[in-house]
Amino acid sequence: MINAKKQAWISCRSMSRATQGRQERFTGGLTRFVAAGATVLFSGLAHADELNMTVGVTDISKQVYDLHMQIFIICCLIGAVVFGVMFWSIIHHRRAAGHEAANFHENTRLELAWTIVPTLILIGMAWPATNVLIAMYDTGGEDMTVEVRGYQWKWEYKYLDEDYNRTFSFFSNMSTSQDEIQNRSNKGEYYLLEVDKPLRIPTNRKVRFLVTAEDVIHAWWVPDFGIKRDAVPGILNELWTIVDKPGVYRGQCTELCGKDHGFMPVVVEVLEEEEFDSWYAQELEKETVRVASLSKTFTEEELMAEGEAVYTTFCASCHQANGQGVPPVFPSLVGTPVATGDRDEHIRLVLDGVPGTSMQAFGKQLDAAQMAAVVHYERNSWGNNMGDVTQPRDVIAVQEEQ
């Protein structure tokens, strides 16, 4: 069934690509709507996973699912009785059916009953809910701790360690291309739910997440783990999970956080323990190499390639892939004083940002090598032909001189 549906999706997508016009797109959409409607109708419960809450892969998420189903079924039963009585009355107590109105308008016993019985049902609902909640709040005894930080509009994951030198962090940006979003190319399977670097955690270990934010309030949610928590600037929130099944689990930011709120997915890759440990060791190794690279000299090609990658990830959502920006909010970089003026000023601007505008200070998100590459790229792209070369040491020099 899923395949049939995907097929419908793909065929219509190619149709809309072939035709382009809005009219045709609408027709394509309609075709898809009919196909999809038919699929939904015929698949019924086979599609329960798409119609209902995810069962998830943790003990907590399964408990939450069970709770959700219990409450849902109770509501359905109450609904069936209440609406049943109502529609029975609507059918039988019509004037058209010749029914004469009775005269009663109160009944103390009945009214007491329908106050007390719902209260009892609610107590029955609250009992299991309380137990699940207490289980969720048992945050002690973790095996490892990861700090999760929300930024406009990406996540940073920091693996904490008692030895601060073994702490490392990275940013996780959405990797779906602007072409897919702007409908210039096909949308991939994990459209909007894919990142350049997912959070990695091991199976069978209790992982504590400390959730916070850099700027505004975000919310970190992994439906398959049954956990969601607001990321509030200046405040630490905690969550935990134990996952026993390796896999890739996807979620999204769920608190409105500005322009690209819809474009900051959460992707967590759960690895087998040994696999995780070797990845973790490698990351620590890379961290050492990265620190060392700050004193290296790169070729212009290397700078351009790295610069384009950094630009696409950190800059393009505002300044656009072509550097033209969206004036006046997001200024153009083409031929403008910053990108074609004094280089050190340019570096300083990217390092420190422009207070009071959307231009963030990238000094702590980018290391000197990335910073050098992106400045080089901006000064030598889209017709900006400054011809100068920016190396990590130049960035460090600007930092030092400050």
Partner: protein
């Protein structure tokens, strides 16, 4: 306009109603502002928000360490809202006995070419441990003024209360460093001279 109407019962009732309703409006308006101290009080009592309190004055007699327990205290440092300073803890975490006075260091460096003022805001989880975490000295009690390129070591001394709930085995304390140069521009000019 009509003296008879003005003294009629309905008129008087309406005036009374207006007085009462306006009183409610003002009362609720005041209540909205009173929510601020009330909320702070509430946070202090419950530890909500993980706001650790001000300087703790302790009696040496009561601080005998409980050597039967070891609690892990992790330190997390962040800079917020575009704050560009480097900010890091000397140690990512330490293990302490409840009741033991411990000193740790944090480091901060102004990487810009202008004098700036920073303010660190603490937050602690689990919130149930907040009221058992006492700081006798902390850089977060005041603002930090740093000259361009200046680096500073900042000590923080704390005691985990012996009454810390038994189920708490680790405490996570975070400091979020904010740029408050604009609000404390007087500090910068004083420091700059």
């Amino acid at each position: 306009m009509d003296s008879q109407a003005q003294h009629s019962p309905a008129q008087q009732g309406i005036k009374k109603t207006i007085r009462q309703t306006v009183l409610i409006v003002f009362g609720m308006g005041l209540f909205a502002w009173a929510l601020i101290p009330l909320y702070d009080l509430f946070c202090e009592i419950t530890g909500l928000g993980g706001k650790t309190g001000g300087p703790y004055v302790y009696d040496e007699a009561t601080v005998a360490p409980d050597t039967s327990r070891l609690v892990k205290v992790n330190f997390i440092t962040n800079t917020n809202q575009g704050m560009v300073w480097d900010f890091w803890p000397g140690k990512g975490g330490v293990r302490v006995h409840p009741g033991e006075l411990k000193e740790v260091s944090f480091f901060v460096k102004n990487t810009t070419n202008r004098p700036m003022v920073g303010q660190a805001i603490p937050s602690l989880v689990p919130v149930s441990a907040t009221q058992y975490f006492h700081k006798t000295e902390c850089f977060c009690f005041a603002q930090q003024v740093l000259q361009p390129g200046e680096e500073m070591e900042m000590p923080m001394r704390f005691i985990v209360d012996r009454d810390l709930p038994k189920n708490v085995q680790s405490i996570n304390l975070s400091y979020a460093l904010f740029d408050v140069t604009e609000s404390f521009s007087d500090l910068v000019s004083v420091g700059g001279n």
